[in-house]
């Protein structure tokens, strides 16, 4: 057997540069019957330092797809930039916006193409499927993905996801005799759950806080628009007349 020890010792001892860091924060998305809600806090931190109180983690890609990125902020921003570039090329080639299930597969191949130097980013993609249903796709940093009804990721994932499992999937709850749990919740309930998730995560996790951005994507002619009109801090971001509509709700979170 070759002398492997002496081989490894003959290399000069070097202190490796670490190309990654963690920038905190939390993201979350919930799919409804004909809408999708994608939210993230706006704090960016490193260690115990708050770098800024406003660094968006949720991005409108098209009028039917919104992407939330969480993890290493520099990788996240670069990844969103590259996804947007691919979507623009698609638009030029096909004169329409890429459908969300295609965006999901695109994201998986883009992440996996960096399998051996990954984007250190957890992605959650929310929006409206071509059949008009609300969709949430969640990814790990190297591209494994699945379509789900709800997902939390980031610093406070371990605080928020169990709450969502209980309130969205009704885990560990039993329906009253003769009744059953609803398959999908109405938009007003979902918005309340999102806001409560983030106020609670802000209370118990130091890396969560400052501001909250909630994106709402509505399917064509969705009746959910009624309740959204009088929500405090809402503004519309729709840019095409395809029918799907995008809104953002901005709220303050505690800054301590």
């Amino acid at each position: 057997m070759p002398d492997t020890l002496s081989l490894s010792q003959s290399q000069p001892q070097q202190h490796a540069f670490n190309p990654y860091t963690e920038n905190g924060g939390t993201i979350l998305a919930i799919a409804g019957a004909d809408f999708s809600v994608i939210a993230g806090d706006t704090r960016q931190s490193e260690g115990y330092n708050i770098q800024t109180r406003y660094a968006p983690k949720v991005f409108r890609l098209t009028d039917k797809a919104v992407l939330a990125v969480n993890g290493f902020a520099a990788d996240g921003n670069m990844f969103v930039k590259k996804v947007r570039q691919r979507l623009e090329w698609y638009r030029h080639a096909h004169a329409k916006d890429m459908p969300i299930r295609a965006i999901a597969r695109l994201i998986q191949t883009m992440l996996y193409s960096r399998r051996f130097f990954p984007y250190y980013v957890y992605n959650i993609l929310g929006g409206i499927e071509e059949d008009g249903t609300g969709a949430v796709y969640s990814f790990d940093p190297v591209g494994s993905y699945e379509r789900e009804a709800c997902r939390a990721a980031g610093a406070a994932q371990s605080l928020v996801q169990p709450f969502l499992d209980n309130q969205i999937y009704f885990k560990n709850q039993t329906p009253a005799p003769g009744t059953s749990f609803p398959r999908h919740l109405p938009l007003s309930t979902v918005l309340s759950l999102v806001i409560d998730s983030f106020t609670s995560a802000t209370e118990r996790h130091i890396e969560v806080g400052d501001g909250l951005e909630i994106y709402v994507v509505l399917a064509k002619n969705s009746p959910s628009i009624q309740g959204l009109r009088d929500v405090r801090g809402v503004s519309e971001l729709t840019s095409t007349d395809d029918g799907e509509r995008v809104f953002v709700v901005r709220r303050e979170l505690k800054k301590d």
């Binding site: 070759p2 492997t4 081989l7 860091t21 660094a55 290493f72 520099a74 670069m78």
Partner: protein, 266 residues
């Protein structure tokens, strides 16, 4: 050709090493080696370094401050180094971290500005463009595992709008109304936030100078890699101004009263 079948990859052939007696970490390391690999120099640690840079938004634009020290480890090696650098007509960058990497950044930004100037297309680079360019360079270099070892603040004022943002050796970027790098993030940022947040459109230049002096003084008292000589830059509608070196006043009379260590008998 790699003559060690165990290095050929999975699936493992049972004809060789059937019982996995050759665990991965102990396999012979006979990769093709670049004969000059040890001759390639990458920045693995900063050598001559600058400490904090501070910046804030005020009524007229952006104010930035940095002291004049370039340290060699704990040695105060160069005491008259300018760490605030004008780029084009609307922008100042301030650097902490490796000074030679900063000088390289100054060089390629100068080349960029000249190239943009010679095109004479009626456009010129503002602070937002310079920050975007810098962050792409910093991120590309970190992705090659050959970073430019700096924390940079980019401040500017163009078309009636002020701009202030950060970028570092990892390519991390962010923007806020007050920014501080290095030790300043711990010692100066709390003061800056208290004095500036919510008052960005009211603070006068004199008030901004007073806030900066306070922060520089606090840093000089507690950051052992700082010095009491610093410069201020303002970027406003009137353009870029970088002051001559200034001296920060300090008071050490309180030291007389300190008891408990040292040679005093009482």
């Amino acid at each position: 050709m790699d003559h060690f079948p165990t290095n050929w990859g999975r699936p493992r052939n049972d004809a060789y090493d059937a019982y996995g007696t050759f665990p991965l970490p102990h396999r012979p390391n006979n990769d093709t080696k670049d004969a000059f690999a040890s001759g390639v120099q990458r920045t693995q640690q900063p050598i001559v370094t600058g400490t904090s840079v501070l910046a804030l938004k005020y009524k007229d634009g952006i104010m930035m401050a940095a002291d004049n020290l370039a340290s060699y480890g704990s040695l105060a090696r160069f005491k008259d180094v300018q760490r605030l650098h004008p780029v084009g007509k609307y922008t100042v960058i301030g650097a902490g971290g490796d000074i030679s990497d900063f000088q390289y950044i100054q060089k390629f930004l100068e080349e960029l500005i000249i190239e943009e100037f010679t095109s004479q297309d009626g456009h010129d680079l503002g602070p937002a463009e310079i920050h975007e360019y810098l962050s792409q360079v910093m991120y590309a270099r970190r992705s090659k595992l050959n970073p430019l070892w700096n924390s940079l603040l980019v401040g500017g004022f163009k078309d009636g709008k002020s701009f202030l943002a950060y970028v570092d050796l990892l390519g991390t970027t962010y923007s806020a109304s007050t920014l501080a790098t290095g030790f300043g993030a711990y010692l100066a940022q709390p003061i800056l936030r208290k004095e500036v947040e919510g008052k960005e459109t009211e603070l006068t230049e004199d008030e901004a100078i007073r806030i900066m002096e306070t922060c520089i003084r606090v840093l000089y008292y507690r950051d052992a890699r700082s010095i009491d000589k610093y410069q201020l830059a303002t970027i406003t509608a009137d353009g870029v101004k970088i002051s001559d070196s200034r001296h920060i006043s300090t008071s050490w009379s309180f030291a007389e009263g300190i008891r408990g260590y040292g040679a005093q008998t009482q």
